[in-house]
């Protein structure tokens, strides 16, 4: 039976990297007595795969991973059992059953929502109102927004407008917050901070990566008609 689990990650847990989060959940499965399936062979491991690894320093409301189980308790009990053995800064929000034919979460990911906000002790160079205008003029109204993306191996031109599906600014607690819906996944993965830092660059002001907290809000897949769906929408609650 395939299960998709969604969790939140905040606070000091942002310093725990993806592989260590995996190890954390492997241990949590045993603590919570989830009847997870193991691979065959001499050193069996739990069948568990993450949707979209979250970088160190990022927080999230919607992290997903899939597991396979031999048997299961109800969604509500499983969520409670896991949360009873969690640490502060991680909370399991949903535990849903997937159709047996479901593809892995990782292969489904196509987009994600992010909020980028200024950390305590850091000020924005512009007010929220000013940012709204800048984003409108420099990005949204432009026919294209081309930057040079440098990787270890090559440099290539990328039009960020084709990878950004939504982009707006709001004021929260007196500071601007950037909201972005961007292309995510194994092809055309866009880090949201690249959009903001590129605008900083256009404006000719230095971008400090430590000034901004990146928070993932949701991770999406596309249904047959092209609509974006949160990853756990593909599963059903176990009663």
């Amino acid at each position: 039976m395939k299960i998709r689990i969604k969790f939140r990650k905040w606070g000091v847990m942002k310093f725990i990297g993806h592989l260590d989060m995996m190890r954390h959940f492997q241990k949590a499965m045993r603590r919570a007595d989830i009847d997870i399936k193991y691979s065959e062979g001499f050193s069996p491991h739990q069948i568990m795969s993450f949707a979209a690894p979250l970088g160190v320093g990022l927080t999230s409301d919607s992290e997903y991973f899939d597991i396979e189980v031999n048997s299961t308790m109800s969604s509500a009990l499983a969520v409670a059992a896991l949360n009873a053995v969690m640490v502060e800064g991680v909370e399991v929000v949903s535990y849903v059953q997937l159709p047996d034919t479901a593809k892995t979460a990782m292969s489904l990911v196509t987009a994600a929502d992010y909020a980028l906000s200024y950390k305590e002790g850091y000020e924005s160079p512009y007010s929220a109102e000013e940012w709204k205008q800048i984003v409108e003029k420099e990005f949204l109204k432009q026919p294209a927004f081309t930057i040079t993306k440098k990787t270890k191996k090559s440099e290539r031109e990328v039009d960020l407008k084709t990878l950004v599906y939504d982009f707006y600014v709001e004021e929260q607690e007196g500071k601007p917050v950037f909201f972005l819906k961007v292309s995510t996944g194994s092809t055309d993965n866009l880090k949201p901070e690249l959009v903001v830092s590129s605008i900083y660059e256009r404006m000719g002001i230095p971008y400090h990566e430590n000034a901004i907290q990146i928070h993932r809000l949701e991770v999406y897949t596309r249904d047959d008609s092209g609509n974006l769906l949160p990853l756990d929408a593909l599963g059903t609650e176990i009663i």
Binding site: M13, D20, Q26, K27, R30
Partner: protein, 621 residues
Amino acid sequence: MRKLALSDEILMQVEKPARYIGNELNSVVKDTSQIRFAMCFPDVYEIGMSHLGIQILYDMFNRREDTWCERVYSPWPDLHKIMKEQNIPLFGLESQEPIKNFDFVGMTLQYEMCYTNILQILDLAQIPLLASERTDSDPIVLGGGPCSYNPEPIAEFFDCFYIGEGETQYNRFLDLYKSMKESSSYSRKKFLHEAAKIEGIYVPSFYEVSYKEDGTIDRFTPLYDDIPVRIKKQVDMDLTESVYPNKPVVPFIKATQDRAVLEIQRGCIRGCRFCQAGMIYRPNREKGLDRLKELARNILESTGHEEISLSSLSSSDYSELEELIHFLIEECNKKHINISLPSLRIDAFSLDIMSKVQDIKKSSLTFAPEAGSQRLRNVINKGLTIDDILGGAKQAFEGGWNKVKLYFMLGLPTETEEDMRAIPELANEIAALYYDTVPKEQRNGKCQITISTSFFVPKPFTPFQWATMLEPKDYLDRARIVNDHVKEQLNRKSIRYNWHEPDVTVLEGILARGDRKIAKAILYVYEHGGFFDAWNEFFYYDLWLEAFDACGIDIDFYTKRPRGDEEIFPWDFIDVGVSKAFLLREWKTALSESVTPNCRMRCSGCGARQFGGGVCFENQN
């Protein structure tokens, strides 16, 4: 949520920020507490988190409502630099608050090469490095663990040491502190004076050492009449009932020992003459089987660890090992938990067990003959005979194994070239046995025999505490003799040889049997940028040589000088229960190449019987 001591900016630029944020599963957070205790392991997080002793004490202290014990490890050099530059005080992982405001800073001293890290911790904590410079507002700095059995080289840095097992006196020690604080009668000096009367507590500043003209100790005397002349090692005589964590802390990042640990016994019946642990932890005491079963269940349930391992000096000697292992196999198989077996004596039972819990093709057999020839094995009292080794290896080869690891020491007392050459010859014999035992068509390639040698370091409270050491060059020569002789063996293509660097050996030897004069050199090295000596990449032998030179310390005095039977050693004031007369007798027996039977075969009158329990009283009601 707690505010971290380090900013995001710092945490994002250092390696493995998870080392510094706390919040691990089963770590203990209290609102605040009357007594704040920082428990330090002066090495990096992944090493320190693997240490069982701290987990036990952490659990024990935090059971007290009035005490909050937190953990502290050595910040890695990348963070060290930032903390020094930005004047950030070292903090407890749980509260993230500076430990300079705590009541106690306790350090476990597991190996000599961590001595400079003691100073690093004090320095980053902004606590004066020398005990004599601390005031009433500074924490009490105390040490414990195996290296505190010769605390003299680091005595100046500590207010007191706890000699022995923490389970017995810590509550009295903390109660004393609390009552003095509550009655406002506390001063550092008064507290230490009262603490010095508690059995097992050593306050170095209350003892005076005078030296003879030749540099050896003349007298070691207490400054007060009401404190003991000798410090008595503490032992917990009821291991079954003693505190043990049901919920050990589980690190997020992979620690060196990322598993549940079950301590099955303390002490060892064997009496290997080079082994300090085998002497200072006497008498051998076992934890009852039922208690171990209960602990295993609880720990696996509370941690979710995927592996469990047994801790002891010689697991094969645990009297109910078979039943314990069968229980673990049954428990663990259900939950896909691995069992990691400590090096067991190779026999039919252990091979059967190993074939159940390991992949034979990948795993290897481990023998620790420690010396190549039977003559030298008699000198060190290592009971393993050539028949044990070849018999065990033969059974293993028949069972499908083809990898063998052999551990030896070079530089043991009385070692001759013949003893060194016996090492490759033994390896060759094992390889030949493989080719004789396993028919060609059943072989899984060549057999692989790996020889590893380390250099012997004489330790306090062992029969070899009288032994002399060599020059670094001489150690290397011995490794070369072994290496050259490996190449002369018929089965040389099946034999690999690794050896250790000799510089560390010499330094370890100086620190292990050092006296109070050594402290100056440790301080010199730290002040000139040396710490993390236990890490090859940060070990600067030349800096140590410079320090000894600058401090007027003659290395040979500590390493190469023959010690007389009557010499007063810096650590003689500690009463470990095993008498010096016994150790001396064992030293002479060693030189006559005779073995001493183990504690279960016959009592040799070492003195540990005075503790009134353990193996000394087995089968005697």
